[in-house]
């Protein structure tokens, strides 16, 4: 059974019709996971719970009961979301033995809707990274070319879906951590509007930027997942009270008259020629489908990378203070004073990139520097948000590349953090503005690697965003499957 062929809707129907069993599907997933263990997509597996859930679904199907909307969906969960009783590490040594006593709201909602969770997906430590080379549990490989990175930080989640180990996955996106790996792995990934999906139970990196979102094989599956995940959570004060839409129903209809904005700043220096070509072809496709193409401007985008790395790291320096060895997780041996215990625990427990960002963020918030760094960054952030407001006065959806290049080689950028940071140049503006963005495949490069396109909409306008993406997907055609592992 090839999971990449299965849609969420079809799986539910087939289980209900008893044409396939959830247990069978679940076993197929684990067989695939075992076979592709070398990709290192998972930190831990939840085989027993998964099989128990699958059995329960099959029993429900046998009894003729109405199955919940996501019954049988094989799901991977990024290891920075807590699940009661399941080890949750956030890719860090400092949480190597941490078993949370509660479950993240988004995960809980999906569980209630019948998903089968097969395991916790590998990721960059505390979601800090763009290549999944920063995990304490080893690098993750791209199934399209195992010499290349899958993207990050939700690399394991993207790979699980792209390589057919799961039908869908949860990731988190602080600066592109869903959209970039989705682009690198040739699948669909959505970063919802800030506040659309509850963050309760997501181990925080940059609290004002973090957002949980889904990976899947199709826009329709993304819509199915959003129908369950989205909406107000009283446990997250930053989750919005705004009513959700029926995202699946919203897919119907064409894009006649849709105003598609193309920001000129995103097609300048540094953009790979092949990527530009595929994006332009997609824009043409939109025009053929009856959309109106409009040039727009996001003039402050050039400041996005420094602004992002001040705000995200400042918040991270505070968010990660709780990992101090006092209450849970790793504690350094042989420390005899409190200060010594703190220093050694955090020195040995955190990886290099995390320490770099904690230091950067601590500096940005320090007395005497706050106004020049964090304060100024917040001001520019407001300008970036203003850019989107102005652009959306003239268009409904904005189209950009996801990344300047397709997936790069393992180790290619690890020596130069700044270059690594620049691979997020098209995605981080959205987190700063809070608007939603979707990444989907739009073609292949000459080296065989997938190329992603990013669609952006107004705050809480996911319905229109998904509809545009669905139309493009139908016109471009599906079937971006990793050749490298086809034969496995």
């Amino acid at each position: 059974m090839e999971l990449r062929e299965q849609s969420i809707k079809a799986v539910r129907q087939q289980i209900a019709a008893k044409k396939i069993s959830a247990v069978e599907l679940c076993k197929a997933a684990f067989a695939r996971i075992e076979k592709l263990a070398d990709l290192n997509a998972f930190i831990s597996l939840t085989r027993e719970d998964a099989l128990a859930q699958a059995q329960a679904i099959d029993q429900a199907a046998q009894s003729g009961a109405e199955l919940p909307p996501l019954a049988g969906t094989i799901l991977a969960v990024k290891d920075n979301m807590v699940m009661r009783g399941v080890k949750t590490t956030a890719g860090s040594k400092i949480l190597y033995n941490y078993i949370p006593p509660y479950t993240a709201t988004a995960v809980e909602r999906l569980q209630a809707a019948g998903v089968i969770i097969v395991g916790k997906a590998n990721c960059d430590e505390f979601a800090m990274g763009s290549s999944n080379e920063n995990s304490a549990y080893g690098i993750v490989k791209n199934p399209w070319d195992t010499e290349r990175v899958p993207g990050g930080s939700s690399g394991g989640s993207a790979v699980a879906v792209a390589a057919g180990m799961a039908m869908a996955a949860l990731g988190s996106d602080t600066g592109g951590s869903i959209r970039q790996p989705a682009g690198f792995c040739g699948i669909v990934g959505l970063k919802p509007t800030y506040g659309r999906v509850s963050r309760y139970g997501l181990i925080a990196f940059g609290s004002s930027l973090d957002q949980i979102g889904p990976f899947a094989n199709s826009v329709e599956d993304i819509a199915q997942l959003m129908n369950v995940m989205a909406g107000r959570d009283p446990l997250d004060s930053t989750s919005s009270e705004k009513a959700t839409d029926d995202y699946v129903a919203a897919l119907d209809g064409d894009v006649q008259g849709l105003r598609v904005g193309v920001p000129k700043e995103c097609f300048g220096e540094g953009l790979d020629a092949e990527v530009r070509e595929k994006i332009e072809a997609s824009i043409k496709k939109f025009a053929e489908l009856g959309a109106e193409i409009i040039e727009v401007s996001l003039p402050h985008s050039e400041y996005a990378v420094p602004v992002y790395y001040l705000i995200a790291t400042a918040e991270a320096s505070s968010n990660l203070a709780r990992f101090d060895g006092v209450r849970y997780g790793f504690r350094a041996e042989e420390a005899y004073t409190l200060k010594d215990m703190y220093n050694r625990t955090r020195d040995e427990g955190f990886g290099a990139e995390v320490k770099r960002r904690i230091m950067l963020g601590t500096y940005a918030l320090s007395a005497g520097y706050y106004d020049a760094y964090y304060g100024k960054a917040q001001q520019v952030r407001a300008l970036i948000e203003g850019d989107f407001r102005n652009a959306f006065d003239r268009c409904d959806v904005i189209v950009t590349p996801v990344t300047p290049t397709p997936a790069f080689k393992l180790g290619e950028k690890t020596a130069n953090p700044l270059e690594m940071y620049l691979s997020d140049i098209y995605t981080i503006t959205l987190n700063l503005a809070g608007v939603p963005g979707l990444s989907m495949p739009c073609g292949l490069a000459s080296n065989g690697m997938p190329i992603g396109i990013q669609l952006i909409s107004r705050h809480f306008d996911e319905a229109r965003l998904l509809k545009a993406a669905h139309n493009l997907e139908q016109a471009t055609g599906l079937g971006f499957k990793p050749r490298a592992i086809e034969g496995l």
Partner: protein, 491 residues
Amino acid sequence: MREKYEPVIGLEIHAQLKTESKIFCGCSTRFGDTPNGNTCPVCLGLPGALPVLNREVLRKATRAALALHLHINHESIFSRKNYFYPDLPKGYQISQYDRPFSEHGWVEIPTSERNATGQAIEWRMKRFGITRLHLEEDAGKSLHEGMAESATKSYVDLNRSGTPLAEIVSEPDFRSSWEAYDYVQFLRRTLLYVEVCDGNLEEGNFRCDANVSVRLKGAEKFGTRTELKNLNSFRFLQKAIEYEIDRQIEVLEAGGRITQETRLWNEREAKTVLMRSKEDAHDYRYFPEPDLPPLLISEAFIQAQREVMPELPEARRRRFVAEYGLSFDDAAQLTDSKGLADYFEAVVKASGNAKAAANWMLNELVRELNHSGKSINDSPVTAEALAAMIEMIDNQTISGKMGKDVLIEMYQSGKAAKEVVEALGGAQISDVEQIRAMVEQVVAGNAKQVEAYRGGKTTLFGFFVGQTLKASGGKANPQIVNQVLKEMLDS
């Protein structure tokens, strides 16, 4: 020496707001429960947990702010105060920084210096500025002794973590330790009055730090200040400030300089000791708390709280003097707690005798309460019962002297005055005719003494009084006995 200098003191008070549950989660705020029993992912600071503001905290904070004439900001923001400590589970405290809940308040209160025996010298009114009142969460507690492995380990109890606090920062308006003392007493009483804080120092729900400096009299600029901590009682606060003023003057007089530092009050040695110097001071790296939206307070919300505010202690004290003709001291004592003042007014209402109500409460009832460690709210003698007893005195059913015994019996048995009086052998005999009959018998039975009295030995009058009272079984009203005897013997 001391006369050359003027002390400048500012106070920071942390008052625990009286709510059932914590400020950012649903855990109980109860004191003294099993360590770490009242905790959840939020107040344990577990990864992924997020704070949600408890609305009840806002009601309490609004009342506290109104009582202190603070301006409540319609929009304020929470900020993170970052520092590492084992009892601070998130590595930061959610507090408020540059946009606090309320600002620009004041109180005008009676204050007085004290003489060597601690007696107030002269009460006068003085106004003190209050810079701000902001909201924050409390930390947990580190326990260094009394546990199984205390010799080698420290323990952490996070039951207090997330308890709501109001931090009330004063202007540097105090010029003596007694002013500071009177202010913190006043503040505690006010918070108790508006029912936002229990004011219990032992349970740590009312804590105080002081900033102290001295300057030459007439100088404009403030001297370098030190911060005093560990002021666990009002007396410690006053003594520590007093000590610190002397210490600073001594340093300056010796040609030294004051260094900005934090000092702890050591009660055993009756002095302040260095805790940390400015160089070791934390850089708290405050920044807006991204997990909480701005805190919005509407005018309607404030108005709703304003409407349920009780009369404040200072206003009530003034009214007691004006309306009931009480002395400053009596009025101050009776308005010391809302319970006491409410009780007093209930007694006045039922008895119509304010003077007697004040006297019986302050001279007799309060002593009994102190004796049995009870508060006025738990008094076995209700206000109505005390009023009934006062009425019995007023209509001469019992004597004032008898009243004291009656009240004690009422206090101990919880019985009504009438019942107690009957049990003590009935009410006083005030009927003139009945008494005249007794007096007649005494006079008739003591002819020799009557003769001696009428012959000039007037000291025998007491003998007749005694005989009559004895004949009445002690129940005759002595005043009437006197009156009747005079009539009969002197006529």
